[in-house]
């Protein structure tokens, strides 16, 4: 069985600018993959080629086993699309609009169930134009899932959401995943990728520069831990049992064996009768890794 999405050596240029430059991507059935990248990294161009909005210059693309450039109506019946900018008819009520879109699909989900899921049940008879921006966006997402698609594209689905609306949207994506749907989402938010995705793909300059599980991306799982603390009063760097580097008011030890370092350090402190205030052990955050990866790419 082929993967839900398969992309090989995809290239797309706008005049002189190569937006997508030899991109490879595989998304398996039931997976939730987050595509991270700065503005201009080629995320939206790639997604819009997969959605069938744009033609490619070269490369092979398969979505649910067919070429999205020629998949037509039969393919769109199986794919849900939520575009980056919210665009919905303003003079229909929420229920009228969702019902209208339900009629485009052969086996749509129940309208009231979808409105419930998106937290719009109380607004079902309100005209779309009277809703807040976040509510209109939820209508937009409702239109993306009303057809009960096998695959859903979410292009920056929570940009501009307040924190509680984001939690609601996350719960919705988790709900889709529990139904076995495949989800491809683009996002600027590291916590969103961390929370939702099985796999993170980092794009820069039209290519994939790293991919992996959110907790392992870029060697995050086994990479150096940072042990950080403030020097006790009357203690100099030379008194410490190991080499440290200054970091603001504190000092830092970078190590891939944090257990041993901590043991040595705390043993030394207890023996001396001093307190290591502000002692923390951290792994690099997804954001650190992301900035490092995209930063390297830009140099």
């Amino acid at each position: 069985m082929t993967a839900t999405i398969e992309v090989r050596n995809l290239v797309k240029s706008y005049r002189q600018v190569q937006a997508v430059a030899g991109l490879d991507l595989t998304v398996e059935s039931g997976e939730c993959v987050a595509v991270l990248g700065a503005n201009g990294a080629g995320k939206t161009t790639m997604v819009e080629i997969l959605e069938g909005f744009r033609t490619r210059d070269s490369g092979q693309v398969s979505v649910l086993g067919v070429d999205p450039a020629t998949g037509g109506r039969a393919l769109r019946e199986r794919v849900g699309v939520v575009l980056q900018s919210c665009a919905v008819e303003r003079y229909l009520t929420v229920a009228e609009l969702v019902r209208l879109h339900a009629g485009y699909y052969p086996h749509p989900r129940d309208v009231d169930e979808v409105l419930e899921m998106m937290g719009l049940a109380g607004k079902r008879d309100a005209r779309v134009r009277t809703l807040s921006g976040g509510q209109q966006r939820r209508v937009d997402v409702a239109l993306g899932i009303i057809g009960d698609p096998d695959l859903i594209f979410l292009d920056e689905p929570t940009t501009g959401f307040d924190p509680s609306a984001r939690r609601t949207a996350w719960a919705m994506v988790e709900n889709l995943r529990s139904l076995g749907k495949t989800v491809l989402l683009t996002t600027h938010y590291m916590d969103e990728a961390q929370h939702l995705a099985d796999r993170v793909v980092v794009m820069a300059r039209g290519r994939v520069v790293a991919e992996g599980r959110p907790d392992e991306l870029g060697g995050r799982g086994e990479g150096a831990a940072r042990v950080r603390f403030t020097l006790p009063d009357g203690v100099g760097v030379a008194d410490l049992p190991m080499a440290v580097t200054p970091d603001g008011d504190a000092v830092v030890v970078e190590t891939d064996k944090p257990t041993g370092v901590l043991h040595e350090l705390t043993g030394w402190a207890v023996a001396r009768g001093v307190e290591l205030s502000g002692l923390t052990v951290t792994r690099p955050s997804l954001e650190d890794i992301y900035l490092r990866l995209t930063g390297e790419e830009q140099r």
């Binding site: 082929t2 398969e6 090989r8 959605e51 069938g52 909005f53 092979q60 693309v61 398969s62 649910l64 086993g65 067919v66 070429d67 020629t70 998949g71 037509g72 109506r73 039969a74 393919l75 769109r76 019946e77 794919v79 699309v81 575009l83 900018s85 919210c86 665009a87 919905v88 008819e89 003079y91 229909l92 009228e96 209208l100 879109h101 009629g103 485009y104 699909y105 052969p106 005209r127 937009d140 239109l143 057809g147």
Partner: protein
């Protein structure tokens, strides 16, 4: 990669009845959206009625001279107002609302759904035709009851001409969106095209100048007005005789059909789904 990719999806069977229901729902939604937008509804319905009342009350039953003969003024204006209704309900309305939908991304969003383009456009077209027919009935009823205008002599032809006119100006409305860069400029560009068309059409006053007449003869609105006039076929006073047109003439219908074909061709070839520059 060695596996070859299939290039088309297996088409699912779609019974005609469900396709027609799809178009019907789309047309109903279009009418709701028009009716609930006060500016659009007002422009579409109030303007033709306002013009009808103003011209009929101003002129009363004093005779108007046309190239073919003399006719009561209210009687002269009715086909023109119906033509104007078709023009605003279709061309003006469509050019502005489609541009808006394109620029706000609604068209692109629709394109991401299985709704076929033909069904989207058919829904829009049917709603415009329905509005044009309603306006025809309303303006005719008012004219007949209040201003002594005779009942139309060729009703099936009249309906046919309204349908052809609506199709022609809808196609031209879609074609116009091609030259409208954004929604801010839509009303201005549409009016620059529509007002000269109207004044050259014979809708507001008869064209008795032969130069203007030959210009207006190649334009669709004058031909629509003439075809409508010949469908109403009111009594024309020519010297001592009273004559009636025997229905719309083929030349007028042919010119409308040519404009319909031109509009459709431009619309199909050049239509944009997204704002420019993306």
């Amino acid at each position: 990669m060695t596996a070859s990719l299939p290039t088309t999806a297996a088409p699912s069977r779609r019974p005609l009845a469900s396709e027609l229901a799809l178009v019907g729902r789309q047309a109903t939604a279009e009418l709701k959206m028009l009716w609930r937008n006060p500016a659009r509804a007002g422009f579409t319905f109030a303007f033709p009625l306002m013009f009808l009342l103003i011209f009929s009350l101003l002129g009363g039953s004093s005779p108007t001279q046309t190239l073919d003969g003399n006719v009561g003024q209210s009687t002269y204006y009715l086909p023109g107002i119906v033509g104007y209704s078709v023009l605003t309900a279709c061309l003006t309305n469509l050019a502005i609302s489609l541009t808006n939908r394109r620029e706000t991304g609604i068209l692109k969003r629709k394109r991401g759904t299985p709704l076929p383009t033909w069904a989207l456009l058919a829904g829009i077209l049917i709603s415009q035709v329905a509005i044009a027919l309603v306006l025809t009935v309303v303006t005719s009823t008012i004219s007949i009851l209040a201003f002594d205008v005779p009942f139309p002599r060729h009703v099936p032809e009249l309906v046919g001409v309204v349908l052809l006119g609506a199709a022609c100006f809808s196609a031209l409305g879609v074609a116009m969106t091609v030259v409208i860069p954004n929604q801010d400029s839509a009303p201005a560009i549409v009016n620059i095209v529509v007002f000269p068309l109207l004044f050259l059409s014979g809708i507001f006053f008869p064209i008795n100048n032969s130069t203007l007449h030959s210009i207006s003869n190649v334009l669709p609105i004058a031909r629509l007005q003439q075809a409508l006039f010949d469908s109403y076929a009111p009594p024309l006073q020519v010297g001592d005789h009273v004559v009636h047109a025997s229905g719309p003439n083929g030349g007028d219908l042919l010119v409308l059909a040519v404009w319909l074909a031109v509009g459709t061709m431009v619309a199909v070839r050049r239509f944009r789904w997204e704002p420019r520059g993306r």
